[in-house]
């Protein structure tokens, strides 16, 4: 009995060690040239505060555009009264396509159609995103409170009908779902309620490996209905800044292989100046826009070819 037990322990140890050693995975995306950031998609999200940041952010956009690394700008906040028009005008002057976000707060409780009419009359935008992470309880995302997919979708469908009747050329995008826990299940709920029956851009945010795995599963179940859909990853990115290049070289290819997006937008050009306690700008391509001097982070330098 002792001999049997001993031989079992020895054999199990050998198996455990061998089974936990790393091996290569030939099926994973290969051939990525790290220096060239080949998997980068030409889209960056820009938040739109006033003051100096507008100049720095649009100059940076120009550099990215000239380097062939930016075709789309996704404006994180668009003011209904036209207050963010300078950003839009400068983006147009650079030759960029514009993706605008209308938040749940701006849509309000009623008259989504009227609100959209005001936005449409004030801005020239290529794609209109309606809502963003609508179930997110964070007051910075949804200051008036979150909502559920079931409450949101009927209103969205009504707005869709209004826009298609009144502005046939306008392109709508659904609200991106969470980039982490719960996002894929929410997207599936949208699909079940009929989002794929509408002619809208399918959007999602994506920040974690687990979310990517789960989005892949949801997409697999609905592939036959995704044949004519534009798919956008509206936000992805990682902090701290030392991880940026690795994220583009290693996570972007996984996104592409699993979700075949038309566009992937990096979040964010600048998310506020970093301080010892504030890390909202961990994924920012730039830092220190308010305090100065401006810091161009490594990914930005690599994209414009200065690194």
């Amino acid at each position: 009995m002792g001999n049997r037990l001993g031989s079992f322990v020895v054999l199990f140890s050998v198996l455990f060690i061998s089974c936990n050693s790393n091996s290569t995975n030939p099926a994973s995306p290969s051939g990525i040239n790290r220096a060239e950031l080949r998997s980068w998609y030409p889209c960056v999200t820009i938040q739109t505060p006033g003051g100096n940041p507008i100049n720095f952010q649009m100059e940076a956009s120009g550099k990215l555009k000239n380097a062939g690394r930016m075709q789309w700008v996704r404006f994180g906040n668009t003011q209904v009264n036209g207050g963010t028009r300078p950003y839009h005008n400068r983006a147009r002057n650079l030759g960029l396509n514009i993706f605008s976000v209308i938040s749940l707060e701006q849509l309000g409780e009623k008259n989504w159609e009227q609100t959209f009419d005001r936005f449409y009359s004030n801005y020239s935008t290529d794609i209109w995103q309606i809502g963003n992470e609508i179930s997110n309880p964070d007051i910075h995302v949804n200051p008036l409170g979150a909502t559920t997919i079931e409450q949101f979708f009927p209103k969205f469908r009504e707005l869709y009908g209004h826009v298609k009747r009144k502005y046939p050329q306008a392109v709508l995008a659904g609200p991106p779902t969470f980039g982490s826990v719960g996002g894929p299940a929410e997207l599936e709920k949208f699909f079940q309620l009929g989002l794929l029956d509408l002619d809208v851009v399918v959007t999602l945010n994506l920040y974690t490996e687990t979310a990517l795995q789960e989005y892949g599963v949801v997409f697999d179940r609905y592939r036959s209905k995704l044949t004519n859909k534009r798919i956008w990853v509206t936000e992805t990115g990682a902090g701290p800044p030392e991880r940026h290049i690795d994220w583009v070289n290693n996570f972007y290819p996984r996104i592409i292989n699993a979700l075949h997006p038309e566009m992937v937008c990096w979040y964010v050009m600048w998310g506020g100046d970093s301080t010892a306690n504030v890390h909202d700008n961990d994924s920012g391509l730039l830092d220190n826009l308010e305090r100065g001097p401006v810091i161009e982070r490594d990914l930005f330098k690599a994209l414009i070819g200065s690194k």
Binding site: C19, P26, A27, A185, R223, T227, N228, N257, A258, H260
Partner: protein, 203 residues
């Protein structure tokens, strides 16, 4: 996890029968799927840990039952499988020939997902079709279950055994061709060959 534990417990319990032969195996293999309709090829390596109970006498033409865990690729979040198989042993001189039939079940992850874009902005996407649920997973049907038939040639020395194994798996792949405005999707069945080597230790 519950299924893994239950499977191991089940196999360990039947192995208590002193009239049966109980063996623990490890296997290393290399597999390939060629999805001709999309001109895409998937290749991967795997390692397996398996508990193997050989019956004292053949039962229903079967000589034994084996099952265990299988690991494909190196990403911890994906490529984790369970498998179970039944086999028949045919003795030929100093060797044993073991044809077997089994089922592989688990979470493939994104290793079998691939997208190729073309110059016109269209793309072809291939995915392994998921067809079964996984307990405690946040979304439905993330896992696959597919059959495998295999043939091995076993040579035993003392308590040890070694056997080359060839197998075929019947896998289903989805092919999506689209230009974001229109496209089509179809599912094809692919026979995926695999070659490997299994080492065993008899208790």
């Amino acid at each position: 996890m519950k299924i893994i534990l239950l499977t191991i417990l089940f196999i360990c319990s039947v192995a208590q029968n002193s009239y049966a032969q109980f063996r623990i195996n490890i296997k290393f293999d290399a597999s390939r799927s060629l999805v001709k309709d999309a001109s895409m090829k998937f290749e991967w390596t795997a390692k397996e840990l398996e508990f193997d109970r050989k019956f004292k006498k053949n039962k229903l033409f079967l000589s034994g039952l084996a099952g265990g865990a299988r690991r494909e690729g190196s990403n911890l979040a994906e490529g984790n499988f369970l498998h179970i198989r039944v086999y028949r042993t045919i003795s030929v001189k100093k060797f044993e020939i073991n044809p077997s039939f089994g089922i592989i079940y688990g979470h493939p992850g994104l290793r079998s997902e691939r997208t190729k874009f073309d110059a016109n902005g269209g793309y072809v996407h291939v995915n392994l079709v998921r067809n079964v649920d996984l307990p405690s997973y946040n979304v439905k049907k993330p896992a696959v279950a597919y059959p495998e038939i295999s043939l091995s040639l076993r040579k035993k020395v003392w308590r040890l055994s070694a056997e080359p194994v060839v197998s075929m798996r019947i896998m289903r792949y989805g092919i999506l061709k689209s230009n974001f405005g229109s496209g089509n999707y179809k599912v094809v069945t692919v026979i995926s060959p695999s070659v490997g080597f299994r080492f065993g230790f008899r208790f």
